[in-house]
């Protein structure tokens, strides 16, 4: 009985979302708002229990400070009760940066949010630069240097070289160079076409999933 009720609710919401294909309507608006609200709520709770609580509040000892049962002792307890500097005190910096990020909501002091943003962008770039360069540039380059002994290798090399030539704008696309750039355009168009085809397949899969739910799981019309 529970599943019949929940399936009916899910079916009404599905029909509500699909109804937008005819035209915008109140049922669609309700379903859209509900989806956004539920998603935001889910993510907030998820991030609170995965990030804020264990990493910030527990590590700093704020959970213990507010008197939560079975809460672990944190950096603040170590500092004020034992007089030692705990490594977890570093999370205080992260907490402060987080609060600074939220100041963006205030027009007057919104500029403060640029500092944690700069820190995040800078540290991410520094941390990941080598990895991205190694895997996305060097490895890809290495795996493109292939012997011209098969049709696949030939397509890969010609496609890569002509594609790069198309995006080289310092030289006018004329003569042999222009011809190579034109070949590059064809490779790009085929790539975009393949991507479009995959996108259609992806969207169709989602539609089939909902249709299967409506006619199979909900109405029981599919064997």
């Amino acid at each position: 009985m529970d599943s019949v009720f929940s399936h009916t609710i899910a079916a009404i919401l599905t029909i509500g979302i699909i109804s937008f294909l005819y035209k915008d309507n109140p049922l669609y608006k309700f379903c859209e708002s509900l989806f956004i609200g539920v998603s935001a709520g889910y993510w907030f709770v998820q991030q609170y229990y995965a990030n804020l609580l264990p990493k910030l509040f527990d590590n700093l000892g704020i959970t213990k400070l507010v008197g939560a049962e079975n809460a672990p002792e944190g950096a603040l307890q170590a500092l004020f009760l034992e007089g030692r500097l705990d490594d977890n005190l570093l999370y205080l910096i992260a907490g402060v940066l987080g609060v600074m990020m939220l100041l963006r909501l205030s027009p007057k002091i919104g500029w403060i949010a640029r500092w944690p943003l700069a820190f995040t962008v800078g540290s991410s770039a520094g941390l990941y630069f080598i990895t991205y360069f190694q895997s996305n540039a060097m490895s890809q380059l290495e795996h493109t240097i292939l012997p011209l002994n098969s049709f696949n290798n030939l397509v890969l090399i010609v496609g890569t070289v002509t594609g790069i030539i198309y995006f080289y704008f310092s030289k006018e696309h004329k003569g042999v160079f222009g011809g190579a750039a034109k070949v590059g355009i064809y490779f790009l168009m085929i790539t975009f076409g393949a991507s479009f085809g995959y996108t259609v397949m992806s969207r169709m899969s989602l539609l089939i999933g909902r249709i299967d739910f409506l006619f199979g799981t909900w109405l029981g019309l599919v064997k």
């Binding site: 889910y42 990030n51 190694q134 899969s205 989602l206 539609l207 006619f215």
Partner: protein, 300 residues
Amino acid sequence: MNPDNPKMGFFETIANIDRRVIFLFIGFAVIIPVLLSFSCTEEATPIVQAVYDEIESLPEGSKVLISFDYGPSTVPEVQPMIDALLRHSCEKNLKMYMMALWGTGHNLISESMQDIIEKEFPHKIYGVDYVNLGYKAGNQGLINVILTDMKKMYTTDARGSEIDAVPMMVDIRNLKSFDLILSMGGGFPGIKEWVLFGGDPGNIPVAGGATAVSAPLLYPYYPRQLLGLLGGIKGAAEYESALIKGYPKFKTHSHPAIDMMGPQTVAHIVIVFFIVIGNITFFIGRKREEGEKREGGVIK
């Protein structure tokens, strides 16, 4: 001839067709094959066969890390891949370590465990044959950490048991302890991050399954950095076919991806038909326009 506007010809009517008519056609193209349970046969392509062969070649007891990097919105595409891979791993007696880089992946691990492992392979023991490590925040940063120290991030499993109390976690030190990493998803973080931050620096084999939208972006990593890929529902259907071919007993189990390929094929035929019609009307319209310009007439 359009009855509302007698001056409008057939091609003009087609060119100005209400988009809702096309939606209706697509709707019928999906609903009818679903109701008739129309399906197509699939043959595994090399990129899918590579994943199958890799799992098939792993000796009994090998450790496979499966990352659930997706959410409910892509379940119709990704879940059939997970189901097939779990069945194959269970059949091969591999040890399955399930984790999630996505917050939504946590519940999907539990559902997959219930629906596939606990229901179809009841003799498998939690903590010995499979474990749920749950969701951890951190995206590629998390992969970066567990590349050198797994237990720094995972102090307990998803059920709250101490990690060293889980028998199959005892000899796990870092990502290099695994024989294969499978990332199932299609967004960020996902397969690309596993290749860049796990597979490449640790020299660990990485394979996976992705939504069709993101699959073309992952092909450049195949076959050197990514040993195989299940791209969209077609990739899932191919894997299900390979599994049924290798283990005919799975023919009686659910194979949602193969079932979905029927409606998928019909819908694609309808879309291709509309693309062809659209192009024909476009070129005819352009030719007429050019003709009218040459004659100095007014474009209707």
